[in-house]
């Protein structure tokens, strides 16, 4: 059969109105340099737009970033939008200025991993890799 080249594909985007994309762009670049294909959707996206793009691009994971404090509303909204778009299996990871007690709640709402400022990039990359691989085999 033909050559098999499965690549990890992820979507990185910013839901809500926050325009600070330094972190999101850094994650996108770092994932690229770790061999991922990264669909970058930019700032100020609605959860529905992010979910629709994730489905069309058939990504293995979605990464979100929010620094405006709106994560409690927006991150779970993306999880819901994915389920509604028929892709409840695509894992969602998130990052930003997020207090510890919110992390517990966000995980309960289905976000698989949350990264806060200062998390080493290797930790983040391997979390994405795990999420992608788990999704492919699952």
């Amino acid at each position: 059969m033909t050559e098999k080249i499965k690549k990890n594909r992820v979507l990185v985007g910013k839901p809500g109105l926050d325009g600070h994309d330094r972190g999101a762009k850094f994650i996108a670049q770092a994932l690229r340099d770790a061999g991922f294909e990264v669909v970058y959707t930019g700032i100020r996206r609605s959860p529905e737009e992010i979910a629709a793009a994730a489905v069309q691009e058939d990504v293995d994971a979605v990464g979100l970033s929010s620094l405006s404090g709106a994560h409690m509303r927006l991150f779970p909204a993306v999880v819901e939008a994915l389920a509604k778009a028929g892709a409840p299996d695509i894992p969602v990871l998130g990052g930003g200025v997020i207090p510890e007690e919110d992390i517990i709640e966000l995980k309960a709402a289905g976000i698989v991993e949350i990264f806060t400022p200062g998390t080493p990039i290797d930790t983040i990359i391997s979390a994405y890799r795990d999420a992608c691989e788990k999704k492919s085999t699952g």
């Binding site: 059969m1 061999g35 959707t41 609605s46």
Partner: protein, 302 residues
């Protein structure tokens, strides 16, 4: 997703199924064969495939976005395949073309897919071709392939298109000079985008002059300001006119055949590559001696 559910999804034109089907082909999965042989060939042969190429910064994505908006106005279902280069070092890629087209993200009749070149030589042509067929079979009457016009693999992809549009913009510098020769030959329509910027008229005249040299009918240049949607209606009229001319004259069929042959060739290489590599490794070849001769020997043996 089981293959049966996937095929059913494709019949339903479900975005999830379309996305997955393209991935399976792109990843060289065994199920690709079943998927690709289940498609509606009639729809595939009717669809119009547009190639949009040009240097970085010319405004291809913004122009594509405007074309989508106009075509959606005519209630067409549209497919977009946006191709970005993979990093030669890591093999990863940032696929950022969607950013400029996010306004159509939740439109069910805009099917978009970003693709990385994955460092393949001809293979990209095979996978992009398959994506075109999947989209067409799922009802997309126009499919746009957008790619940066540099590098051999990008040039090959353009051969899949029925009509190729080359987008340029003033002030992009020397790289244009380098590209002119190759890309001008394959372009059916030339677009000078950012027509409101200094140097646009001169660029248009230069381009016309270059095309005049090679042919009796110089390629007419379309002027657009994609960020404001200006000139896009005229461009679409030109595309329509040329498309029907090509359909009448048989040019379209000729191109399709050429593209098809190219795709078959690419698939041959796709299939052969792992088999050959396997053989080569098994032989434990010595590093001495002529590689070309060794290749011939391997190919000759049955």
């Amino acid at each position: 997703m089981t293959i049966d559910r996937l095929l059913e999804g494709l019949r339903q034109r479900d975005p999830r199924a379309i996305g997955r089907a393209i991935s399976l082909v792109e990843n060289g999965d065994e199920s690709a064969e079943i998927i690709l042989s289940s498609l509606d060939e009639n729809l595939v042969s009717q669809a119009t495939i547009l190639g949009i190429t040009g240097p970085p910064g010319a405004g291809k994505s913004t122009l594509t976005n405007e074309i989508i908006a106009k075509l959606r106005h005519q209630e067409e279902r549209i497919g977009i395949i946006a191709i970005d280069p993979s990093s030669p070092i890591s093999g990863g890629a940032i696929l950022g073309d969607r950013i400029r087209m996010m306004q159509h993200a939740t439109d069910k009749d805009v099917v978009m897919r970003s693709m990385a070149t994955r460092g393949r030589l001809g293979g990209l042509c095979a996978t992009a071709g398959a994506a075109v067929r999947i989209m067409a079979s799922c009802g997309c009457s126009t499919i746009i392939i957008e790619t940066v016009g540099v590098g051999q693999s990008e040039m090959d992809i353009i051969r899949l298109a029925d009509i190729t549009i080359l987008v340029m913009a003033p002030g992009l510098g020397d790289e244009i000079q380098a590209m002119k020769a190759g890309l001008l030959e394959v372009a059916d329509i030339l677009v000078v985008n950012k027509a409101d910027c200094k140097g646009a008229d001169i660029l248009a005249m230069d381009l016309e002059a270059v095309t005049r040299k090679g042919s009796a009918t110089p390629t007419q240049v379309c002027m657009t300001v994609a960020t404001e949607g200006k000139g896009v209606t005229e461009l679409l009229d030109r595309i329509d006119k040329l498309d029907s001319e090509h359909r009448d004259s048989g040019e379209r069929q000729k191109r399709r055949r050429g593209a098809h042959n190219q795709e078959v060739l690419d698939w041959c290489l796709e299939i052969l590559r792992p088999q050959l590599l396997d053989k080569i490794i098994k032989r434990k070849l010595s590093v001495l001696g002529d590689p070309r001769l060794k290749a011939k020997k391997i190919l000759e043996e049955k």
